[in-house]
C-alpha cells in the first residue's frame, strides 16, 4: 500500500516538526524561571565565586538557545556536565540532569513510567471495550431499560470527577467490603497477579469516567448508521442481524471512536496522574509535582517534554490506525 506508506511518512515528518517546535517553546518558557537553580544548588553561605562555579557546572551560564541545543544533543548523544573527576555523565537519551536529586532525569522517568503507563493502558483498553459495547447495546435496545441504564451510567461518569469516584471506590470496595487493596503499586515483574489486583480499582474508576463520552458517541453513531442504505442492502441480501451489526454497523462506528480516542490521549495521561495520587502510587505525576515544589527545573522540563512526546507519538499511532480503518483519510 504505497498510499498508506506516504501517509505515514508525511505524518512522521509533521510529528518531528511539532516536537521540535514544542521543545523550543517549553525551553523559552521555563528559561523565565524566577528562582536560580544554581543558587539553590550552591547552598548557604554562597560566595559569588561558588555561585559562578555552580552556574558553569550546570551549564546555566550559556544562552537559552545554546542550552536548548545541548538538551537536543543530549537526547541523541548524551551529555557531560563539568570536567575531570567531578564530571557528571548523562547517557543518551538524556532528558536533563537533576542536580538536587543527583540523577539523570531519564532514570527518574524510567523508574516512574511503569506506574503511570500501567494505569493508563489498562484503563484505556477497558473504557474502549465498555464504551463501544454499552453504546452499541443501548442503540440496539433504544428506549428500553438497557438503554436508560447505559445513558444514566454515562451521565454519572461525565458528572463525577475521577478522583472523587476513586475515593468512593476505595471506601466501598476497599474499606467496607474489603474486596480489593485500598492503595499501593506492585511492579508487574514482581508479581503479575498482585500488579493487576492493585490496579483493578484504578482501571475501573478511570474507565467508568472516560467510557461515558464513548457510550454517548457510539450510541448516537450507531443509531445513525443503522438507518443508512448499506445496512438495508446488507439486510436485503439476507445477512443475519448479528452480522449486520457486527460487520456493517460497527465499521462506521469505529472510525469516529478512533478519532476521539486520539484526541483523548492527553486527557488519559492527566487522568492517570490524578488516579495515581488517589491510590498513592508513585508515578510520573508525583515526580512532577514534587519537582515543582523543589524548584527542580530540569525534572519539570524533562517530564513535561517527555509526556508531550509520548502523547504526540501515541497520536501518530492512532492516526495510522485511522488510515488503515478508513482509506479516505490517507488521501486527505
Amino acid at each position: 500500500m504505497p498510499d498508506l506508506l506516504w501517509f505515514v511518512l508525511r505524518r512522521l515528518f509533521a510529528t518531528v516538526l511539532v516536537m521540535l517546535a514544542l521543545s523550543l517553546a517549553v525551553y523559552l518558557i521555563f528559561y523565565a524561571l524566577p528562582a536560580d537553580p544554581a543558587r539553590l544548588a550552591c547552598g548557604k553561605p554562597c560566595t559569588p565565586d561558588r555561585l559562578e562555579q555552580a552556574r558553569h557546572f550546570m551549564q546555566l551560564d550559556q544562552s537559552v538557545i545554546q542550552q536548548y541545543l545541548a538538551f537536543l544533543k543530549g537526547i541523541f548523544a548524551g551529555r557531560t556536565f563539568g570536567e575531570g573527576a567531578a564530571a557528571v555523565q548523562c547517557n543518551a537519551p538524556c532528558f536533563g540532569y537533576s542536580f538536587p536529586l543527583a540523577r539523570p532525569v531519564t532514570t527518574l522517568i524510567v523508574d516512574r513510567l511503569p506506574v503511570t503507563l500501567s494505569i493508563a493502558i489498562g484503563a484505556a483498553v477497558l473504557w474502549l471495550l465498555l464504551g463501544v459495547t454499552l453504546g452499541v447495546g443501548a442503540a440496539l435496545k433504544r428506549g428500553k431499560l438497557f438503554d436508560r441504564l447505559a445513558v444514566g451510567f454515562a451521565l454519572i461518569g461525565i458528572a463525577t470527577p475521577s478522583f472523587l469516584l476513586g475515593l468512593l471506590a476505595i471506601l466501598v470496595f476497599g474499606f467496607w467490603l474489603n474486596m480489593v487493596p485500598v492503595n499501593g503499586y506492585v511492579p508487574l515483574t514482581e508479581s503479575p497477579v498482585d500488579w493487576a489486583w492493585h490496579l483493578i480499582t484504578p482501571w475501573l474508576v478511570l474507565a467508568t469516567i472516560q467510557a461515558a463520552a464513548y457510550i454517548r458517541l457510539t450510541r448516537a453513531q450507531m443509531l445513525e448508521e443503522m438507518n443508512l442504505d448499506h445496512i438495508t442492502t446488507a439486510r436485503a441480501k439476507g445477512a443475519g442481524e448479528r452480522r449486520v451489526v457486527a460487520v456493517h454497523g460497527l465499521r462506521g462506528v469505529l472510525v469516529p471512536i478512533v478519532t476521539i480516542f486520539g484526541l483523548d490521549l492527553g486527557a488519559l495521561l492527566g487522568g492517570a496522574i490524578l488516579t495515581e495520587k488517589v491510590f498513592s502510587m508513585q508515578g510520573l505525576g508525583e515526580l512532577l509535582i514534587s519537582a515543582v515544589g523543589q524548584l527542580d527545573v530540569a525534572v519539570v522540563v524533562g517530564v513535561t517534554l517527555f509526556s508531550a512526546f509520548l502523547v504526540i507519538l501515541a497520536n501518530l499511532v492512532v492516526d495510522v490506525v485511522h488510515g488503515v480503518l478508513d482509506p479516505r483519510v490517507g488521501h486527505a
Binding site: 458528572a159 472523587l164 485500598v182 490524578l274 495520587k277
Partner: protein, 309 residues
Amino acid sequence: MSSSVVAAVSPTRQALRRVRRDRSARFGAWLVAALIVIAVAAPLLVKLSGQDPYTYHIDLLDPAKGGAPKGALGGVSADHWFGVEPLTGRDLFSIVVLGLRTSLAIAIVATLITTVVGTLVGISAAYFGGWYDGVVSRLLDFLFGFPQLVFMIALGIIVPAEFPRWLLLILVLSVFGWAGLARLIRGQARSLATREFVEAARSVGSSGWHVITRELLPNLLGPVLVIATMAIPGYIGAEAALSFLGVGVPPPTPSLGRSISDSIVWVYTGTDPWFMVFPGIMLFLAVLGFTLLGDGVRDAFDVRLRRAN
C-alpha cells in the same frame, strides 16, 4: 393570517420554552440556580451558622481516633452543620460553601475569557479560511489533544510565590481551555460562512470585521451560549483536580478539591469518610448541575456538536 403572528416567536424564546419542557434540563437549571445563590451568599451563610473556616476546635476531636471528630457523621451538630475537619476541627460547612464559591468564581471567569477568545478565533478561522484557517486548525488540534494537566502543573514553577494563585489558575485554565471552544465554534461557523447573506455582505464591500461581528456573530449566539455552558463543568472539574493535586488554591483559602485531597488518609483508614463526603457531594452537584443544564440548552437550541470532523 393570525397564525403567522403566533408562529413568529424568536428562536431564543422557542429554545427557552424547550428547556422548560425538558425535565432533566429543568432539574439542572434549578440546581445551578441554587448553587449560584449558595456561592454568592456563602459569607452570609457562614455568618448565619456562627462559624468561620479558619478557627481550630481541637476540643471537638477524639485523640484516641487519631484526631478524627467526636460524634457521628464526622461530628455533625447544631453548631457544625457538616461536622468538622479532622486534625484541626475547622468548621466543614464553612469550608464547603466557601470552597464552592471559589470553584464557581474561577470556573465562570475562565469560561467568560475562553468564550470570547474562542469565539473570535473560531469565527475568524472559518470566515477567512485559507492558510490562516490551516494554521489555526493545526494549533487547535494540537492544544486540544495535549497533556494539559502536565503543563498546568509544570507552569507553577515559573510563577513567583507572590503571584496570586487564583489568578494563575484562571490564566492556566484559559490558556489551555480556549482551544476546545474555538474548535467547536469554528465547526459551527464554517457552514454559516458560505451562506448567501454573508456573500451579499461581502459583495457590497463590508470589511471582514464587520461581517464577523454583524453577520456571523448574531447568528452564532445560540451555539456559542451552548458551547460556553457545556464548558463550565469542565473548568469546575479542572480547578478541583489542580487543587486536589496540591497546585491549585493554597491554604487556608477553602477549596473543594484540596479538602477532598486532605481526606484521602481518612478514607484509606475509614476513620472519617465524612470528611470526603460533604465536599465531594458539593463538587458532584456542581458538575452535575452544569452538565444537565448544558445538555438541555444544547438540545433546546438543536445544536449538533461533533467532536469528530
